[in-house]
């Protein structure tokens, strides 16, 4: 059965990619000599070093609830104080009412707006889509495959 699967994979490759199927599957990347002989020792040294480091100094005490609870309470108090003392800085434009905006403009004066700037804003030629990159068909297909979208279902729905 395995042999049959191998043969069908080869046949499939020959049919779909004859040039690729004609190439020898060889490894052309080189490796430093004795690398694989020495590698297990390198790993063992690294493991031993990590285990020695973790046994000599530990941060485990920091995760004790008797230590964490007072730290958390202090952090909440400090954060709350900072937030309560600066309410105005947290205000966004959306939170201001129309009346408040009008009052502010009357007090500080209406800003002057360049006619040219307004013309650009309301211009019919102001097309944002020109800045967007168009995706190629290949990029779309790659995206669909990466996200494992069922292409046949998409085709059916369209």
């Amino acid at each position: 059965m395995n042999k049959q699967n191998e043969i069908s994979d080869l046949e499939e490759l020959k049919k779909m990619a004859p040039t690729l199927s004609s190439l020898k599957k060889e490894n052309h990347f080189s490796v430093p000599s004795n690398y694989f002989d020495e590698f297990p020792m390198k790993v063992k040294s690294k493991i031993d070093a990590e285990e020695n480091a973790s046994s000599s100094f530990s941060f485990a005490w920091l995760f004790n609830y008797k230590v964490l609870t007072p730290i958390a309470v202090c952090a909440i108090i400090i954060l709350g104080t900072l937030l309560l003392n600066n309410p105005a800085e947290n205000l966004t434009l959306e939170e201001l009412t129309a009346y408040e905006i009008e009052q502010s403009l009357e007090y500080y004066g209406y800003p002057s707006v360049d006619d040219g700037f307004l013309a650009v804003l309301y211009s019919e030629d102001n097309n944002d889509s020109e800045d967007q990159e168009e995706l190629s068909e290949e990029e779309i297909v790659n995206y669909l495959l990466e996200e494992e979208v069922d292409v046949s279902q998409l085709y059916y729905e369209l």
């Binding site: 699967n5 191998e6 994979d9 490759l13 779909m16 990619a17 004859p18 040039t19 690729l20 190439l23 599957k25 060889e26 490894n27 052309h28 990347f29 080189s30 490796v31 430093p32 690398y35 694989f36 590698f39 297990p40 390198k42 790993v43 063992k44 690294k46 493991i47 990590e50 290949e138 297909v141 790659n142 495959l145 990466e146 494992e148 292409v151």
Partner: protein, 183 residues
């Protein structure tokens, strides 16, 4: 020597805290080359592959205690190596604020200047074509074409359906074929 013991026997030996270095060492010797080449084909650079392989084995050491003996060790090791490789490649992109297209370009230019590649012109062209594939597709291609894995095993390692893997592989070989035919 490593082939003398099965993975199951080595896992049994590993359970004893007094003598776990020997079985672990044997597991490393048994599987290190295949994992190395799996990683190396993705990152190209030997030093990067070496770092990732070491991290893979350190994670294996830490996780072997919880590994279920009835599961496939080789698949599990492959999964760790694959995840470590993807993490490395993603970190590389973020570290230098490299957009995806530039990351591919960077790998391709690293490959151009790589003296450790000993293949002829057509083999070099093949590698360059492989580098143009999106990351996951490149993984699928390498695992199927070079490592000759079955789709069911790839599905376990990559946590992807067999259908999606087949579609990805077919798409990859078509793209590579096109690139190979170009002058």
């Amino acid at each position: 020597m490593a082939e003398k013991y099965s993975d199951r026997e080595l896992l049994e030996q590993f359970k004893s805290e007094d003598s776990r270095h020997f079985p672990f060492n044997t597991i490393v010797r048994k599987h290190q080359e295949k994992l190395y080449w799996h990683i190396r084909r993705m990152v190209l650079d030997h030093d990067d592959a070496d770092d990732i392989l070491q991290n893979t084995w350190i994670k294996t050491w830490k996780g072997l205690d919880n590994f279920r003996a009835d599961a496939n060790l080789y698949t599990w090791l492959y999964r760790i190596a694959t995840n470590e490789t993807i993490t490395f490649l993603n970190k590389k992109k973020k570290r230098f604020f490299v957009p995806i297209s530039d990351a591919v370009h960077e790998l391709a230019s690293d490959f151009e200047s790589d003296n450790s590649f000993t293949g002829d012109e057509i083999q070099r062209k093949l590698q360059q074509a492989i580098l143009t594939l999106p990351e996951k597709q490149r993984l699928v291609f390498n695992m199927k074409y070079f490592e000759e894995m079955k789709y069911t095993q790839m599905s376990e390692i990559l946590d992807t359906s067999v259908g999606a893997l087949k579609a990805s592989y077919h798409h990859a070989i078509k793209k590579i074929e096109q690139k190979l035919k170009q002058d």
